[in-house]
């Protein structure tokens, strides 16, 4: 048989960090070089395979932040450091980093939506002179669901970070309320110089994009990332197809001008 792109390869788990009760970050030994925003198909033989976005990567490693939410991820969470999982990829496209150069970049992420943009945040945090200004708005259901607490704290020292939760508790002293509320109050003197990334659950993306549009940010300055069922990542299995677009090939990252035409 010719080259078989369905064959996964084995990778070692270097580190597991528990972000929340149900979200773990796995650092894996891997030489793949993904673009920021791409995904890989993660599998555990005998259990199954699922697409997971790469939350960060570096020399010889990649990192994925995985929520325990289904057949494969339930078992993934039982793995220990030193254990192995299987991956193939990376697949899809990444965020158009060049497009954000010399712009005011606003990244709005809801819940696990922060994972696929984490590497983008790190990229620009390391190169703050590339953008005019950097803002991160991130929302979670509750204080217990906040991901990347250490990173958020470190980032907030370097640029403007807003963390909000839908519902606080007695120990929470931070922001409360939906992310859209914090978009509303933003002020852009030159909205056409603003570039926005919105990633999160479908409803969050829909309403957050609307708020940015109301502020005068042009549609073509908004980037979103989709989440769909994908069994192959290769444009064959059909599950992620919308119109004539395969999310696994032309996405998951889309410019909003394209994304708004994609009706499932």
């Amino acid at each position: 048989m010719a080259q078989n792109p369905y064959l996964p390869h084995k990778v070692k788990i270097l580190e597991i960090k528990r972000q929340t009760k149900i979200d773990y970050t796995f650092k894996l030994e891997s030489s793949i070089k993904p673009d920021n925003g791409q995904f890989v198909e993660v599998s555990l033989p005998k259990i199954g395979e699922c697409p997971i976005s790469v939350s960060d990567f570096g020399d010889g490693w990649i990192e994925m932040t995985i929520r325990r939410v289904g057949k494969v991820t339930n078992v993934l969470h039982d793995l220990k450091e030193g254990d192995h999982m299987f991956i193939r990829g990376p697949y899809g496209n990444g965020f158009p980093l060049q497009k954000y150069k010399d712009k005011h970049l606003v990244i709005a992420a809801g819940g696990t939506g922060l994972a696929p943009v984490k590497s983008v945040v790190n990229y620009f945090n390391d190169r703050l002179d590339l953008v005019k200004q950097l803002n991160l708005l991130t929302g979670f259901k509750s204080p217990e669901d906040v991901l990347f607490k250490d990173e958020l704290e470190a980032w907030s020292k370097d640029f403007n970070v807003t963390v909000t939760v839908d519902q606080g508790n007695k120990d929470w002293t931070g922001n409360v309320g939906l992310i859209t509320g914090y978009v509303k109050v933003m002020d852009f003197p030159n909205p056409e110089e603003v570039e926005v990334i919105v990633v999160g659950p479908p409803m969050m993306m829909k309403f957050t994009v609307q708020e940015f549009l109301k502020l005068g940010v042009p549609e073509e300055n908004i980037t979103v990332s989709f989440e769909r069922k994908m069994c192959c990542g290769l444009g064959k299995c059909g599950h992620c197809k919308i119109d004539d677009t395969y999310v696994c090939l032309e996405g998951p990252v889309f410019n909003y001008t394209k994304a708004k035409e994609l009706i499932d």
Binding site: M1, S43, L44, P45, I47, K229, C231
Partner: protein, 341 residues
């Protein structure tokens, strides 16, 4: 070159072919039909020409020759993956023009779409050759002429059965020897033979040239929401439906070994878009019907340049709710023309 010979003589040809090919053709499985006392006409291996059903349409298409309903992608032990070995023989499939044209659709998805050709599909597709079966009349629900899939030149042999005589046209030089060897010693006659193609079907449709999102919210789809039961038969009988889902399993008597398979998937069945955590798009049968119709008559064409549907009418044949795909397209055309509804 065309030849005429007796069934017995043609069976000798088949015997020779079987040395190098697996031969798949429409066969009749008695009593295996959906209803009691009915037969199932479907694809199966044949060893003699009398087993081939020429006068009825198969329920399932020939796609399983290269895209089996369940296909093992690899076996795994704790450390290793092993791909299943493949039969070295070629595959010869008796198929009608619509079904042969359907392979062009499968080729587009499996070989052209995405960064790599699908290796599992490719290794079987490379072995595949067609024996053209003519349709002297269209069958019930056929609309190949409307789809432009009623003719084909992509066949190695044409086989026509008339009484105890077989007419065979060789359209592939690789097969010339097969007959010419038998020529000398037998009463095989050379004849002038041209394939006949159906030019008109009872069902005819005009495909709206620009189907777009504007029709997505039309009440037309709601009718299907209540009528369609989401059984997926339309997808499984379709010669161009190519979706699959990955499935892992382990062996009960040795849980450290197992296999990964891909199995046919249906966009009409619940769960097609469901992700871990329960998030799903297209929750009603109406939306699923719309997705299927748009794929067959618009989306695919935008990507590959020709319509996906080949007009075989099998989806109409098998629907337990008597939903008609061409009727749906007809309605879309009427809406486009500003008609009622």
């Amino acid at each position: 070159m065309g030849y005429q010979m007796s069934t017995v003589e043609f069976n000798n040809v088949i015997s020779k072919l079987l040395l190098d090919y697996r031969i798949l053709a429409p066969v009749c499985l008695e009593g295996k039909g959906t209803f009691s006392g009915t037969d199932l006409v479907t694809y199966g291996d044949i060893e003699r020409i009398q087993d081939v059903v020429f006068d009825r349409k198969t329920v399932y298409s020939a796609k399983e020759a290269v895209f089996p309903p369940s296909e093992t992608m690899f076996y795994f032990t704790e450390e290793e993956f092993k791909q299943p070995s493949v039969d070295q023989k070629g595959i010869l499939v008796f198929a009608r023009p619509c079904d042969i044209n359907a392979f062009k659709r499968l080729d587009a998805i499996y070989l052209e779409s995405g960064p790599y050709p699908d290796p599992y599909y490719l290794q079987l597709r490379e072995k595949l050759k067609f024996v053209l079966m003519e349709c002297d009349h269209g069958f019930k629900n056929c609309f190949c002429a409307s789809m432009g899939t009623n003719e084909t030149s992509d066949f190695s042999l044409l086989v026509r059965s008339e009484g105890d005589q077989i007419f065979c046209l060789i359209n592939d030089t690789g097969f010339e020897d097969l007959i010419s060897e038998s020529l000398a010693s037998n009463s095989i006659r050379k004849v002038d033979l041209q394939p006949g193609f159906v030019q008109r079907n009872k069902t005819r449709l005009q495909i709206p040239d620009k189907l777009d999102n504007s029709l997505f919210s039309h009440p037309l789809w709601q009718e299907y929401a209540s009528r369609c039961t989401g059984c997926g038969r339309c997808n499984f009988s379709c010669p161009t439906c190519s979706c699959f889902t990955m499935q892992d399993l382990f062996y009960r008597d040795n849980p450290s070994c197992g296999e990964r398979r891909r199995v046919w998937a249906s966009c009409m069945i619940e769960g097609y878009t469901e992700m871990a955590g329960g998030q799903e798009v297209r929750k009603t049968q109406g939306e699923r019907m719309r997705f299927k119709v748009m794929h067959k008559f618009s989306d695919f064409k935008k990507r590959f340049g020709f319509h996906m549907c080949v007009g075989c009418g099998r989806c109409d044949d098998v629907c337990p709710e008597y939903i008609s795909l061409p009727r749906c397209v007809q309605k879309l055309q009427e809406i486009k023309n500003g008609g009622v509804r």
